[in-house]
């Protein structure tokens, strides 16, 4: 399990919150959450523990963003581009 890294995108803060809680409950560790605005309820155990899951809340019109691009541009992306919930496997 520890070797798999997921990058997940959600188009809504509530969906992200629910999903993050479900994943944490299943033992998946959330590494980082990027969002265009503060999401309350993501406490430290969800968002800040070192782990393998990256969640991006992204706002987007139509652009397809692939996971490699996202990993590489993780720092710069994520403020404006939302997409339908999609799971990327690296």
């Amino acid at each position: 399990m520890a070797n798999k890294v997921f990058h997940v995108m959600y188009d809504d803060d509530q969906t992200l919150l629910d999903a993050a809680r479900a994943l944490v409950a299943q033992g998946v560790r959330v590494k980082e959450v990027f969002s265009p605005f503060p999401i309350h309820g993501l406490d430290r155990s969800d968002a800040h523990s070192s782990g393998n899951l990256c969640i991006y809340v992204c706002l987007h019109r139509n652009r397809i963003v692939n996971s490699r691009y996202m990993v590489f541009h993780g720092e710069r992306l994520g403020l404006e581009h939302w997409r339908k919930a999609k799971l990327y496997l690296d």
């Binding site: 265009p36 309820g41 706002l59 720092e75 403020l79 581009h81």
Partner: protein, 458 residues
Amino acid sequence: MFKESNIRKPLILGHKTYHDITNDIVNPIEGPAPKQWKIAFTIALIVALYGIGVISYLVGTGIGSWGLNKTVGWAWDITNFVWWVGIGHAGTLISAVLLLFRQRWRMAINRSAEAMTIFAVIMAALFPVFHMGRVWLAYWTLPLPNQFGSLWPNFNSALMWDVFAISTYFSVSLVFWYIGLIPDFATIRDRVSKPWMKKFYGILSFGWSGRAKHWTRFEEISLVLAGIATPLVFSVHSIVSMDFATSIVPGWHTTIFPPYFVSGAIFSGFAMVQTLLLIMRKTMKLEAYIHLKHIEYMNIVIIVTGSIVGVAYLTELFISDYSGVQYESYAFINRFSGPLAWSYWCMMTCNVISPQLFWFKKLRTNLVFTFVMSIIVNIGMWFERFVIIVTSIHRDYLPAAWGEFKASPIDIGMFIGTIGIFFTLFLLFARYFPVLALNELKTILKTSGESYKNENKH
């Protein structure tokens, strides 16, 4: 998630999505400048350049070019200083006090109110700085070791406290404003395509990435800064009032000055916010975010602070007579019946009577009326300072030393010039900076957005 009662009016009107909010705020920055903006900016810039010309003349010729004389040693300069500092107070109140009280309606107006604060404080600072005459020695007001200047500042002077109050106030307001801007700059950086704009907003946004930890820190630092700024809302204008209250001039030597000045400052500041926002919401099409409810809330603040100001006027009038001190009571008789009585009655009408009209809901929710009132209030507040300052000193203890004051063209030119510089800065802000805290607004969309609220109702 935070739930808001359905009785409360929505703060964001219409069917907005997260993306719409970004578009509404950022599109005007990305697109070409509208014609109205160009016209307004040109006018403001011309007035500003005229002001800079007047200031240059003042520095070259000396303070004698103002209308001051031996009796009236302080007039328009300090009047304008107090007026501008007062205007600045609304921004800090909105950003700090309303944040601590969790008033969500502040999110639509705090950014431009804070910008207004910063620009108003800069304008205010110009007056004492240029009144020094030799501005290149302005650093003498700082407690630097004597090899830098030949004077050690007098810490017993309220003017000295002003230097610290204003500079602290300015720096805290600036940091507060800038920290709020960082995530919004990052949003612009990620959207724009022009390379220079990407670079410009990239530098301004300090590499903001939007990770959860950054947002936590962002919210924490906002609260800490609000905590620091809250006492400043009250202390700065208290100290400004002490410039007068610590002296023994009749009409100035009053203990009610600090609360009286602070409420007057908030009163005039909100009026200026109304003036600016009513134009901005219309020209930048922000009616969905800054709507009648926001205007009404601000008008309510204007009623409350305006009433405090009214009570203060009547209190000082009563106390001047009740004190039994001839000089004190004459100062007030002179105010309402002396040669400058017109300014006293102008102040009374604008500040005491007119804000009371806002008790009528029809009037306080009328945009045109609010706009006219906001200008009347600021005229009234300018006259308040003029009355306090000039009428108190033009006739004090010795009738042999009584005098008159007549403003010179340089007095008037410098005042008009600062209005020009203020609007130049504000228009630049409105063009290149996000005028609403767009990312903060998104946090209230689901709780206070109209379409979401209606959905929850069913």
